[in-house]
């Protein structure tokens, strides 16, 4: 299955990381376990955005909506229904994918900036409904104290659950971007007109890509609820969408793992700087400015470019 997708070097790397993260909770205090779970969730979210942003070249400006819809669906299924939690886990990503499909059907006929702006307005509509529907979604207070199933409710159990789901999702996404579909997707990013000319249905591929990204965004939302135990409308506010975009940019959106790295950097910075000062967005803003000036390809993008000849990593290159 992995033949040709992954070489021996990165395979041993993967195994090493998996073992490291599996034994890690035995040595760390509880706060760090929670912190790593948050990194996995955010990293998965950023990677799912990058599926359409970096690989598809679509201006997905409001990805947080899918994250929020997944989180809310999961939370509401647990609270309002008596069904087994398994159904909540299944329903949440599907709900996100359906929202993605609806938004995609409306948006994909446009391109670039117009696509992004229509998506922002649709996403804001979803946000406004959630923000005001007090009787159903809890309005601006959100929902707290969600009854997470006891097998994954403790910090370290939530950690293992988050880690395994994130790992599986990342592997599936990696396979998707390297599948024939993923290749066509990248061709569309690089030259939509030519792809159209050789018989690719551009709009349909973009729609499918968006739905897949929304699905994984929904999984990330579910994991967030597992880790945090609460949901609130800020999860799908547009500023958070831009923050995810920043994560992709920071790590480098022409690489597969870049967004994950970017998400880890942002979550770490927020936690570490948050200890010393409440002005952490000031620091984030300055870092972002420096980044756009000096490293427009992102951190991982920069190093991939620099050490291209030395490691033959299967990271997808820019062109």
């Amino acid at each position: 299955m992995f033949k040709g997708l992954i070489n021996r070097f990165s395979f041993s790397f993967l195994i090493g990381f998996t073992i490291l993260f599996l034994i890690l909770p035995h040595f760390l205090p509880r706060f760090y376990i929670y912190f790593f779970s948050l990194i996995f969730v955010t990293g998965l979210l950023a990677t799912s955005l990058n599926m359409v942003l970096g690989y598809g070249g679509m201006y997905q400006f409001h990805h947080a909506v899918f994250y929020g819809v997944g989180a809310y669906t999961f939370a509401l299924m647990l609270i309002k229904t008596n069904l087994s939690p398994i159904f909540a886990f299944i329903a949440a990503p599907i709900a996100s994918a359906i929202i993605g499909l609806i938004m995609g059907l409306i948006c994909v006929r446009l391109s670039k900036l117009y696509f992004g702006m229509l998506q922002i307005s649709l996403g804001s509509l979803v946000w406004a409904i959630v923000f005001r529907w007090y009787s159903f979604t809890g309005g601006d207070n959100g929902i707290h104290g969600i009854p997470i199933p006891s097998i994954i409710s403790s910090t370290s159990k939530a950690y293992y659950f988050t880690f395994i789901i994130t790992l599986i999702s990342l592997i599936v996404m990696y396979m998707i971007v390297n599948s024939p579909f993923g290749r066509i997707f990248q061709a569309i990013r690089d030259n939509p007109e030519r792809s159209e000319a050789i018989g690719v249905n551009v709009k349909r591929h973009q729609l499918i890509g968006l739905v897949i990204a929304a699905f994984f965004g929904g999984i990330a939302g579910t994991l967030f609820v597992v880790v945090e135990g609460s949901v609130f409308p800020d999860l799908m506010f547009w500023t958070f969408s831009l923050e995810i975009l920043i994560m992709c940019l920071l790590g480098g959106w022409f690489t597969f793992l870049g967004p994950f790295l970017g998400a880890s950097i942002i979550v770490t910075l927020r936690t570490v700087i948050g200890i010393y000062t409440e002005y952490w967005t000031l620091v984030l803003g300055i870092i972002l400015m420096l980044l756009i000036f000096f490293l427009p390809e992102g951190v991982l993008g920069y190093f991939t470019e620099k050490y291209k000849g030395r490691f033959k990593t299967p990271i997808v290159n820019k062109e």
């Binding site: 446009l110 000031l282 972002l288 756009i292 427009p296």
Partner: protein, 297 residues
């Protein structure tokens, strides 16, 4: 849930309230539209400038002793202060980035929004502030037996004045004509010997001045707080989109749609009043994705 006991006078009152809201939205979003049309920058920190305008108006008015002249001076000085900030930002940073992709510019302005948001918190603290309008504009008078604040009437006078001023600037003055030409073809404007970079700076400053003016004008009607920037920016952005990018009359039309659906929505279904403008925006964009009026792009 939905109770439709709308009286004519109540409707009329809400329309007036909606129109005064429209004035603020128009002033802010026309500035954004101007910047988007000529410089092609989706300026996310426009909302921060609006917030800074409100805080500056508060500080100036208090510094000048809270008298009537103090208020009027604050109304002029606050936007000028904002324009000065934007001048520094534009000459210092933005003039080097015009050739970048839209996405990069968007994120770059977002970075500025984060920085400005925290700077405001650093300078003014995170408490609520409120600014009182001068006695002439306080109180209200009745229309069809329902009270209507005097300050809102003042806003209804200011709105058309700003619209006229903008029309005059872009259509009747030389610099306005140059900037419209630069919006269409910046290289050609440069080729005839005009310093395009300074034209851009001028337009950017005018746009940001309008954001500051909107903030200063809104200050007496609501609490001045952190987070003003987040809510206004998404509204202004959507107004600019449904109006047609870079089209000032489009911004007026969009602001009307946004302001009126919001205020009439309060009559129809108060809990979901904020949803109505978004529904209007989405409806417009589904049928006319490039905006109602002609975009300059």
């Amino acid at each position: 849930m939905i109770t439709l006991n709308i009286t004519i006078s109540g409707l009329f009152q809400q329309i007036l309230v909606g129109l005064s809201r429209t004035t603020i939205l128009f002033i802010v979003s026309s500035g954004m539209s101007l910047v988007l049309g000529v410089l092609r920058i989706p300026n996310v920190f426009h909302g921060s400038l609006y917030m800074i305008g409100a805080f500056l108006a508060y500080s100036f008015a208090n510094f000048l002793g809270g008298s009537i002249t103090g208020f009027w001076l604050a109304l002029i000085l606050a936007p000028l202060g904002v324009a000065f900030i934007s001048f520094i930002v534009e000459r210092g940073v933005f003039c080097r980035l015009y050739e970048r992709e839209h996405l990069m510019l968007l994120l770059f302005t977002f970075a500025f929004m984060l920085v400005f948001g925290d700077l405001v918190k650093l300078i003014w603290g995170s408490d609520y502030r409120s600014l009182n309008a001068p006695a002439v504009l306080q109180g209200s008078f009745s229309i069809f037996g329902l009270p209507f604040p005097r300050y809102n009437l003042f806003l209804l006078v200011i709105g058309p004045l700003v619209a006229f001023g903008l029309w005059f600037l872009t259509n009747k003055t030389k610099i306005g004509k140059i900037s419209r030409a630069a919006a269409v073809d910046r290289e050609m404007v440069g080729a005839v010997g005009i310093n395009v970079s300074w034209v851009f700076a001028f337009v950017f400053i005018i746009g940001c001045f309008l954001a500051g003016l909107g903030g200063a004008l809104v200050a007496p009607t609501q609490n001045i707080t952190q987070g003003m920037d987040h809510s206004i920016i998404i509204e202004a952005f959507l107004i600019v989109i449904i109006g047609g990018l870079g089209n000032i009359w489009g911004a007026l039309l969009g602001a009307l749609i946004f302001g009126l659906t919001d205020s009439i929505g309060i009559l129809v279904w108060p809990q979901f009043a904020i949803v109505f403008p978004y529904i209007a925006v989405v409806t417009v964009l589904i049928f006319r994705p490039k905006g109602l009026l002609k975009s300059v792009w």
